[in-house]
Symmetry: C2
Subunit: 385 residues, 2 copies
């Protein structure tokens, strides 16, 4: 923090050179701009520096208007002539150069592959450019925010996770895929879902139902819920990966599809909803292209135990950590101001137990798909916003 | 173990009633047979009992002829009139009855869903049929071995994991899928890959290359390895799930496709290969339908560091646990007798380091797909069997 204050002046300089205006030129051009600014500083005999927006809770805020978790304006300067920063400066340049190579080649790499591509012994020394992937991962995130490009635009991919099925036909890497006929595991959502990879060709769905786990999803797929309700069903295999979040957002925005979310009645479920809707705190800079502020939470609600007349077979006792997390989540600015969410979380705490989506089938194997969710979709009063 | 010995006589009785002959009737009939035998014992005023083959290391052996890890002949009797066994007897009957329901409905359920379907309070008591999923999971495995049916035949599914791409066209749940055109994440391999779900329609592939991780797979997919080499590429997202293992085995057996396996050069990689090839110790009863004794390990080998002239960027130091696991694996009966495997493991130990598949790209992004694997496929002497 002290460094930040000290370097504020230099930061401004560095900043003025960065071609960061949104949508202003390709990612490749942005990387070139970053390099050019460094070279120019060197030519002017200045200390080469790059400005990196601060990725810390202190620089994250909830924007009431956009309803996104967003990064603030704080920036840190990373300078070449600074003993504590020189290595990270070099690493940033190195990762940027590897990403530029990927873009030029039209190829992509995993974050681990970036690490191996960029790792080498610095000539004439025994020093490695990177000792560990834990050094290169944050550099990739730095680069994302520094040049205001998503990781996917840097041609870096994460693990792919998540599947979908239903009334959408899309083109993925040139192949046209009808998601009503993609087999029993559905369409595998890739890690990179940007418009140059995936285009929407046809969509007859009226909404998207996103569920937490693949085993729940399979219940809906097998019962052909997407057919009965003319929709798309998706899952993220737990907290949805970037690819799934980006695809959900794009379907929501470009195809005007409402998004309904069905998650476990526990703090983790609340948290997943919070990330889908408003963005994550860690990756706040992505919210702008991933958050879905109009997504609705349809269950499982703490009130469903009584509402649906469940037996105590579904109860899982809250532990101390659940209670702590629930209280933290209730205090998130975007939940703190909402009375229905305060009631929901308070009710879970007073219940003293949590419930899984899968527990609903203790009534009947198809209760979830044939009664519970249709009832939830019909009754807007049960939605949590 | 003492119980086992004591009950040996009863076991024999129970066994004679079980309709377990392989391929003899449908799974549904097998469950009915199990129930009938229990009812008949009751009518004869005998103690109702079922015989469950023992799922323990002590009852697992390597069959030199089939080259499978197989279960032995030991069985345990589970009796109704035995204070220590009555609950598990009841649970076994309950799970069997739920599986029969699933088969009749033509539906499937996850192991967690089975737990919720079978859990209830026993009438007139406060006792639950199951307190936890950790009680129902082993009962499902008991049932599998007791009636000699795979879990998939009982209509129980696990999480799906793994993808493939290449020259195969298959029919999955009625949809025809050309795996050369399934998008950037490929065909999502479902949890249940039995012939009633998946049929092979057309196959122009000459072999299968199975890799460990999805990020490695993506490298091969992006570089269109399957096109250049007229093959199928698959990954299991780590240790392959049952669905992927079963599909690999079926493609190997029914389509006569050789299977080549590319894994990290570490004890975990050796172990994954061992499971794909010979079956797992925990689920030895599945080997018969999942193991691929002719699978070949093509890398990464401990000798590749020198052979491929790698730099020390790829080295990851072995820890004490790696060393311990490597020694254990070297002593597996199916590796102990093979000199090339002994050399391979010994070399890793003397190297003192392990290497990941992804590390090979530290030479060049496409080194793995354009040089390393083609070199490995060409030179049979480098294969480990």
């Amino acid at each position: 923090m002290i460094i930040m204050a000290k370097k504020a002046k230099k930061t401004t300089k560095a900043k003025s050179k960065r071609p960061t205006k949104r949508g202003n030129g390709s990612t490749e051009k942005k990387i070139e701009g970053l390099a050019t600014s460094v070279v120019e500083m060197a030519h002017r005999q200045q200390d080469p520096a790059i400005a990196i927006p601060t990725r810390a809770l202190s620089n994250v805020a909830f924007n009431e208007k956009t309803r996104h978790v967003e990064m603030g304006e704080n920036k840190q300067s990373r300078n070449f002539f600074n003993y504590g920063q020189a290595k990270r400066f070099m690493q940033t340049m190195l990762v940027a150069s590897k990403c530029k190579d990927l873009i030029e080649l039209g190829k992509t790499a995993s974050i681990r592959q970036i690490y191996y591509l960029a790792k080498h012994t610095i000539k004439g020394t025994k020093e490695k450019t990177f000792d560990d992937q834990s050094e290169s991962d944050p550099i990739i995130e730095d680069l994302e925010v520094a040049i205001d490009s998503l990781r996917e635009e840097l041609h870096v991919f994460a693990s792919n996770r998540g599947n979908l099925a239903g009334y959408i036909t899309l083109v993925d890497a040139g192949s046209t895929l009808d998601c009503t006929a993609m087999g029993s595991a559905g369409y595998a959502v890739p890690s990179i879902c940007e418009p140059d990879v995936i285009q929407f060709k046809k969509c007859d769905a009226k909404f998207i139902l996103h569920v937490e786990k693949d085993t729940v999803w399979r219940r809906f797929h097998e019962d052909r819920f997407w057919e009965t309700h003319k929709c798309i069903i998706s899952h993220g295999g737990g907290q949805p990966a970037r690819g799934m979040r980006r695809l959900l957002r794009r379907m929501h925005e470009e195809l005007k599809l409402p998004v309904f979310v069905l998650l476990d009645n526990d703090p983790w479920g609340y948290y997943i909803y919070s990330v889908i809707k408003h963005g994550s705190i860690n990756l706040a800079y992505e919210s702008r292209r991933m958050a879905i502020p109009d997504a609705k939470f349809i269950g499982v609600s703490s009130f469903d135990y009584d509402r649906c007349d469940m037996t105590d077979d579904v109860k899982i006792e809250l532990d101390a950590n659940d209670v702590k997390r629930a209280k933290q989540i209730a205090n998130y600015p975007w939940f703190a101001s909402k009375r229905p969410w305060q009631r929901e979380i308070k009710k879970m705490l007073s219940n003293g137990f949590k419930m899984e989506v899968e527990a609903m089938i203790s009534k009947d194997l198809s209760y979830l798909t044939e009664q519970y969710v249709p009832m939830k979709l019909k009754d807007k009063k049960q939605w949590l916003d």
